[in-house]
Amino acid sequence: MNRITKIFQDVKKNNKKVFIPFITAGYPRLESTAELIPALADGGADLVEIGVPFSDPMADGPTIQASSHTALENGVTLKWIFKTIKKIRNNVKIPLIFFSYLNPILKYGLERFFKDSQKIGIDGLLIPDLPPEESDEIKKLARRYKINTIFLVSPTTSNNRIRLIEELSDDFVYCVSVTGTTGTRGKLYSEVKPYLMRLKSNLKKPYVVGFGVSTPEDVKKISEISNGVVVGSAIIKFIEKFKNNKELPEKVKNYVKKLKSPLK
């Protein structure tokens, strides 16, 4: 069984809340990725989202843009990412999800991408610039190679579209908290509550909330009306701050612990 499916069975049965951190592959340095993914897992991540850097990340705010830029300067490619994950996959038990814009995947070759993802032990895929309407071919390949697909719901999504998106998302739906790019913001909860209540009454599958979740307080409140959270920019900011610290993986692990603490 796909590792993601397993986790979300637990979510459904036992009302478990998931914590999903995001990191950009190859950031802040090439060597960091092989250290940070296990650190995130040790800190209590239930899944990890691995960002594939792209030169033109239109859905990202300044923090993740900058990390992608650095990663590309470090020489990150999909080929390198596969090689790196292969080295650590046996030591990391939790599901790994790729977050990638469409173009690097197209250029790599769609089928080759899915084949390699399966071989290396990638469990899921989220493409922020691929709406359901354009997803036929990718969905077919994902099924063939047993990679779960995750689609996004946003505050502008109608209830009818929510049903369509839910159908295409294998185990859970990713809800974008507010209209906007990735990034930290203040006063998240009060802004998103009515929208999350609407989702609650329209979604049958579990759903996690991302974009702007950045403090333990956010994690606590948002997870009360969802099945979990994704934290991206806040983690990248934290990594940026301690990028030259020798204890970076340990620090990241503790940071994840702290962010996740309200879910215990």
């Binding site: 859905a59 790599y108 946003s154 999504t157």
Partner: protein, 393 residues
């Protein structure tokens, strides 16, 4: 589920974050309603005529024709329009649409500043709030247009990400739009981006070709050639589109050849790119081995873009339009020729189309009519030309 709409052959589509999908669908619906709305069409025509200055002349360039000694050369004078380029045809259409949709804030990208200028102009005219994203490098290259936009009341925001030119300005405008979707209208400047923009912009620009059809006297003994420069592709499609069905018309699109298409410094997307997804549509793009977008180069900021409209990719694939390129040098030479013997200073973008005409006209018979889309005037480029030639203003 199958998506058939929004494609030109296998090119086009709507590759955007979920937040924008419902908004693009709203735009599509509003546009198809407007197209059938007599009042809307009347209004669009009214402003094209009284405000922008249509129809533009189809001018017989007699001395250029004589000098080249072959085909008869005609210039479609989009350079005579208000704000100095074809861009205003599209901005009038889209702002009327924005008003009809009840949007109160207009955002746009600009490269050369011609589109930004045309947007700032219609926003001033209709009293809408206007935010323009412009790459820092382009702000430096196009100071005059930058200042004009600010005079017109636009809030011009410098874009510091990526290579600080047009492609990054589009990214930043998309990010603004994703954030402020509900009250904001993205007034896109070329036949690029997610569906329905490539269609909408082409339709608003097609007035160019429709006018030419009524202006050119075609007879059985003469043949017709159309030439236009291709950045994103809007002035080119505007001229070409009404002629696509008439297979007797030969059509050439001219891309920015930069320092040569065998160098790494050009913006000849159709000649040297391959298929990918950028800025919401599937089309030819300039990318590296890993699918990262390359930094293009052209002496003209308006052609300096690593993508091209999806309909052009389609027209290339079916072989209806021949795509070629002119280098910076050839464009500069054509710039001088037109200036000196016709007294018309062309935009550097348009000079690329002139350059290709200069190349082929001598080989054509006297019964051939060549129509060059003179998409804009060159005032904005005078200092760039001076600098390229080592002169000071």
């Amino acid at each position: 589920m199958k998506r058939k709409k929004g494609y030109f052959g296998k090119f086009g589509g709507m590759f955007v974050p979920e937040t924008l999908v419902p908004i693009l669908e709203e735009l599509e619906m509003a546009y198809f309603q407007a197209k059938k709305d007599k009042k809307f069409i009347e209004e669009y025509k009214h402003y094209l005529e009284k405000y922008a200055g249509r129809p533009t002349p189809l001018y017989f360039a007699e001395r250029l024709t004589k000098k080249l000694g072959g085909a008869k050369i005609f210039l479609k004078r989009e350079d005579l329009l208000h704000t100095g380029a074809h861009k205003i045809n599209n901005t009038i259409g889209q702002i009327l649409l924005a008003i009809k949709m009840g949007k109160t804030r207009i955002i746009a990208e600009t490269g050369a500043g011609q589109h930004g200028l045309a947007v700032a102009t219609v926003c001033a005219k209709f009293g809408l709030k206007c935010v323009i994203y412009m790459g820092e490098e382009d702000m430096e290259r196009q100071k005059l247009n930058l200042y004009k936009m600010r005079l017109l009341g636009a809030d011009v925001i410098p874009v510091k990400s990526g290579c600080k030119t047009l492609k990054d300005a589009i990214n930043e405008t998309l990010r603004d739009w994703v954030t402020n979707v509900r009250d904001t209208f993205y007034l896109l400047g070329s036949t690029v981006g997610p569906y329905p923009y490539p269609l909408l912009v082409r339709d608003f620009q097609s007035v160019i070709g429709r006018e030419v059809k009524t202006q050119i006297k075609k007879n059985r003994n003469s043949s017709l050639i159309l030439i236009a420069c291709v950045g994103g592709g809007s002035n080119a499609l505007g001229l070409f589109y009404p002629f696509l069905k008439d297979k007797s018309v030969k059509i050439y699109g001219v891309e920015g050849g930069g320092l040569g298409i065998n160098s790494q410094k050009h913006s000849a997307t159709l000649a040297r790119g391959d298929i990918g997804v950028l800025h919401g549509s599937k089309s030819y793009i300039l990318q590296d081995f890993d699918g990262q977008i390359k930094i293009p180069h052209s002496i003209s900021a308006g052609l300096d873009y690593p993508g091209v409209g999806p309909e052009h990719s389609y027209l290339k694939e079916i072989g209806r339009v021949d795509y070629t390129s002119a280098t910076d040098k050839e464009a500069l030479k054509a710039f001088h020729i037109l200036t000196e013997i016709e007294g018309i200073i062309p935009a550097l973008e348009s000079a690329h189309a002139v350059a290709y005409a200069v190349k082929i006209a001598p080989k054509c018979s006297k019964n051939t009519n060549i129509i060059i889309n003179l998409s804009g005037r060159g005032d904005k480029d005078v200092d760039i030309v001076a600098e390229a030639e080592g002169k000071k203003l």
